[in-house]
Symmetry: C2
Subunit: 149 residues, 2 copies
């Protein structure tokens, strides 16, 4: 089977913001598909957003392009430009470096499903203007005995 088998991916719940900023995204479940497909040029996540939940804190990426493709449900996209409702088949793209913070809110009473596609620059910085924080990925080498297989 070539298509993503979600039963073979361990989903992650919520985001990893310091409290109390984590609360808003508690209803997010993410299935990371990038590694399963062996992709290296962009990443693909399937996301389910429970009623009342936000996708993330509002943010923009310094070095990574991003795109969102909605499968089902209704989501409110919030940017500096205002609000916009997204439904099945809608697509939004966010160019790296464009300082217009965005996120999605599920204000409806049913789960929404979307895919998030993102660039892979490990030196990306995410800026979260509403909570006055920015973040980068911390990388560290994890050693193990040589795998002889």
């Amino acid at each position: 089977m070539k298509k993503a088998d979600l039963s073979k991916v361990t989903p992650s719940k919520g985001a990893s913001y310091p409290e109390p900023h984590n609360q808003a995204a508690k209803g997010r479940t993410t299935w990371p598909l990038t590694k399963m497909f062996g992709l290296a040029q962009f990443g693909v996540n399937r996301v389910e957003l429970a009623p009342g939940s936000w996708s993330t804190q509002r943010h923009w990426h310094r070095h990574n392009d991003e795109a969102v493709i909605v499968i089902s449900g209704e989501l409110v996209l919030v940017t500096d430009d205002g609000e916009e409702v997204l439904g099945p088949g809608d697509c939004v793209g966010f160019k790296a470096g464009e300082q217009n913070a965005h996120h999605l809110q599920n204000r409806s009473d049913r789960v929404a499903v979307y895919f998030d596609v993102g660039g892979r620059d490990p030196y990306d910085v995410s800026t979260f203007p509403d909570i006055g924080l920015e973040a980068r990925v911390r990388m560290e080498l994890q050693f193990r005995p040589i795998d002889k297989k």
Copy 2:
């Protein structure tokens, strides 16, 4: 409006294979969204596939990752491994360099909609084993008077 406004994109019909190989993809309509969003790290196309049409000739990419996300309808994914039915919310990824040619066939009686995401290496080579062809992008500089705006 941040989301893709399809009325502002000129869709392209079919593919650009030499005849007779072009016939199979005649029912494909593609809305290129990459430029509209200013993305540079990956490309995004919205595609509608009419009943009876193929997405492409079966192919694999030497240097570009690819992913397909299905919005609506039913598509048959054909690879060297066999056939598989894709429906709304399904996602498939194709790693650059993996020599397993793939395409989508709409064998149903209604239009199917999907998004195609792809890497941006301009030196990519697409190989089409069923028709014994391979293709690369031809690039040429097109000159115009300097735009002073």
